[in-house]
């Protein structure tokens, strides 16, 4: 089994998501470091994609901003060593749709991941049944293949949870990523079912957007994934992040915002 978190988990995991290259490569590196300082347990580094069907409008927009800047899967992977150089030591999970992966020769792709110190791989449009080969490869390269489960997974939960590596990503409600006001009441029983079968930490994502929600979820899971809420903040700070003179302050502001999700 490929472990993502080396230490036993004491407190809740905070796994933030940012899009590589949004608003540019330099900012992405600084934002990753800020997230570590804010208390992130790991970072999901999103590869921008032309057709992000699992994402809501906030991340879609980040994707197209990043694509316009010429970001691609190879460049994004190569940002990680630069983050490491600046002191990043938490796990990096590459979040990418399947198609960009498919276009690379499989061996080179995994070599690239290893060379660039990527710790995990999350592909939202690869369901369990289509992922066997990739999971094998991940094991071979000691990369955690992150699985998702959804409330609709029902009888599939056991199968997915038992095979999960790194952490298991629970979709908080039906849907794509995005900010939500409230969670469905049924989430408690869903998470309980997942925990019953999972040997790895159980994190909840899709729609976690406030401190209150984090607290609400705390007793039901091992952590949260926060995406759209952070990306929206990056969107808001974009002008300052792009300006050399104001970037440091903007990154600081972002860090303070991110910190609100950490218990």
């Amino acid at each position: 089994m490929t472990a993502l978190f080396n230490q036993p988990i004491n407190n809740q995991l905070f796994i933030p998501f940012i899009t590589a290259g949004d608003p540019n490569s330099e900012a992405t590196i600084d934002l990753a470091l800020a997230l570590q300082e804010a208390g992130a347990s790991a970072i999901e580094l999103g590869i921008p994609y032309s057709d992000p069907v699992a994402d809501g409008p906030v991340i879609q927009k980040a994707s197209s901003r990043s694509l316009k800047n010429g970001m691609n899967i190879v460049k994004a992977i190569k940002l990680v060593p630069e983050m490491r150089k600046k002191g990043l030591n938490i796990p990096i999970i590459l979040f990418t749709y399947y198609n960009p992966v498919l276009q690379l020769d499989q061996e080179s792709f995994f070599a690239l991941l290893r060379e660039n110190t990527i710790d995990g791989l999350l592909i939202p449009d690869i369901p369990f049944e289509e992922s066997e080969e990739l999971r094998e490869k991940c094991k071979e390269y000691s990369i955690a293949f992150i699985s998702l489960v959804a409330p609709t997974s029902s009888s599939r939960i056991k199968m997915i949870a038992e095979a999960a590596e790194g952490f298991i990503y629970c979709v908080s409600s039906l849907g794509v990523t995005g900010v939500r006001k409230n969670f469905d009441d049924s989430i408690a029983s869903f998470l309980e079912e997942v925990r019953k079968h999972s040997k790895v930490p159980v994190a909840v994502g899709f729609g976690v957007s406030s401190r209150e929600q984090v607290e609400q979820l705390a007793h039901m899971c091992d952590g949260v994934v926060v995406g759209s809420a952070l990306v929206r903040e990056i969107e808001r700070l974009q002008p300052s992040l792009l300006d050399e003179n104001s970037r440091r302050d903007a990154v600081e502001e972002f860090k303070n915002f991110a910190r609100t999700f950490v218990s």
Binding site: Y49, S50, D51, P52, V53, A54, D55, G56, Q60, S64, L67, N72, I73, V74, Y97, Y98, N99, P100, V101, L102, Q103, P124, D125, I126, P127, F128, E129, E130, S147, L148, V149, A150, P151, T152, S153, S154, S155, R156, I160, V171, L174, G175, V176
Partner: protein
């Protein structure tokens, strides 16, 4: 769920169970005589099937080659083959207890078909349509609204069919518990390519019988246009095991040598889009590139996975036809036979006419005229204005 290497079910986990339920429901339905009976009844009494096969005598004479026959899907209720599949899927939705349906649409034909069956079955209906297509096909937008459907303009990407499909999938992911997604072509995750083919095979089954009745033999070649490829698969299904040459025709837009085309098989590479592995128009990093065709129904960067497989095995030959060639064929058919084809279908016409010329009068060519051109009149008008012909 595979056609050779192609197909599969590449979707967010949220959709896995709904897809499995649909697969199971479809399997049961297709073995249930009362389901099949209702499907056939609606095709006949509601949509007016069987659609006829028309001999294009004037064109045959002008081309001086093979006898040209047209399978007249344009005579269906709502004006295209799309209704065959929409009827089938809405019955499936009803069987599964769903009361809300969604659909994506490019040219608007599938949107109109879905809005139509939703009205007939008293279901709430949302149709996702690229903003650019909303503009190109305003007639169909209003038709959908009149039928009680909500048309949702999609502003992402190129604002055409691909983007509408993205948005429909996103919406479905969020609402799959009570919504049925009526996919309009042989694309998407398994079991959609299979379901849609089974609901479209009536085209080929009928045409084969009708043609045999007329000519006492099978056609030498069968030609159909391919966007996602549902009319083509439906047509080919009946001939795939016969000694008949099959030709699929893609949109070459302004030319396959330019970057403005939608010739997915001719120019594409393998990849995953909208839930299945197939040929795609994409860059080296797997970003889907924006396709182009004057035809909103062919303006799609992917293709049904079964077509990808049939191209790979060589069983079906895929060709491409430019905007201009399609329009010329459309005009030729209108002037010679008094039939106004959809621009989509005109792609098949154009390629078929070229084939026919090189064949002899003992041979015959059967073309799937997948839809009528009324919806395209605005596009045609502005095209003719542009080239100074009107």
């Amino acid at each position: 769920g595979r056609y050779g290497d192609f197909g599969g079910r590449f979707v967010p986990e949220t959709l896995m169970s709904p897809l499995a339920e649909i697969e199971q429901a479809h399997k049961e339905a297709m073995q249930d005589p009362s389901f099949l009976e209702e499907y056939s009844f609606l095709l006949k009494e509601y949509s007016g099937r069987p659609t006829t096969v028309t001999y294009a005598g004037n064109i045959t004479t002008k081309l001086g080659g093979a006898k040209v026959y047209l399978k007249r899907e344009d005579l269906n209720h709502t004006g295209a083959h799309k209704i065959n599949n929409a009827i089938g899927q809405v019955l499936l939705a009803k069987r599964m207890g769903k009361t809300k349906v969604i659909a994506e649409t490019g040219a608007g034909q599938h949107g109109v078909a879905t809005a139509t069956v939703a009205a007939k079955f008293g279901m709430e209906c949302k149709v996702f349509m690229g903003e650019e297509d909303v503009r190109r096909q305003e007639l169909n937008v209003f038709r959908m609204q009149l039928l009680g459907a909500e048309v949702i303009p999609v502003t992402s990407g190129n604002k055409t069919l691909k983007d509408a499909t993205n948005e429909a999938m996103r919406y479905w992911v969020q609402h799959c518990e009570d919504h049925f997604y009526i996919i309009g072509s042989v694309v998407g995750p398994h079991p959609y390519p299979y379901i849609v083919r089974e609901f479209q095979r009536v085209i080929g089954d009928e045409a084969k019988d009708q043609f045999y009745h007329i000519e006492g033999t099978l056609p030498t070649k069968v030609v159909a246009c391919v966007g996602g490829g549902s009319n083509a698969i439906g047509m080919f299904a009946a001939f795939i095991n016969e000694d008949v040459e099959l030709v699929g025709v893609e949109a070459a837009g302004k030319g396959v040598e330019t970057d403005m085309h939608a010739a997915t098989i001719t120019k594409g590479t393998k990849g995953v889009l909208h839930g299945s592995l197939t040929y795609l128009l994409q860059d080296e990093y797997g970003q889907i590139t924006e396709p182009y065709s004057i035809s909103a129904g062919l303006d799609y960067p992917g293709i049904g996975p079964e077509h990808a497989h049939l191209a790979n095995t060589g069983r079906v030959k895929y060709e491409s036809v430019t905007d201009q060639e399609a329009l010329d064929a459309l005009e030729f058919l209108a002037r010679e036979e008094g039939i106004l084809a959809a621009i989509e279908s005109a792609h098949a016409l154009s390629a078929a006419f070229e084939h026919a010329k090189k064949m002899n009068i003992e041979e015959s060519i059967l073309i799937c005229l997948s839809g009528r051109g009324d919806k395209d009149v605005h596009t045609l008008m502005s095209h003719y204005k542009e080239v100074g012909k009107a």
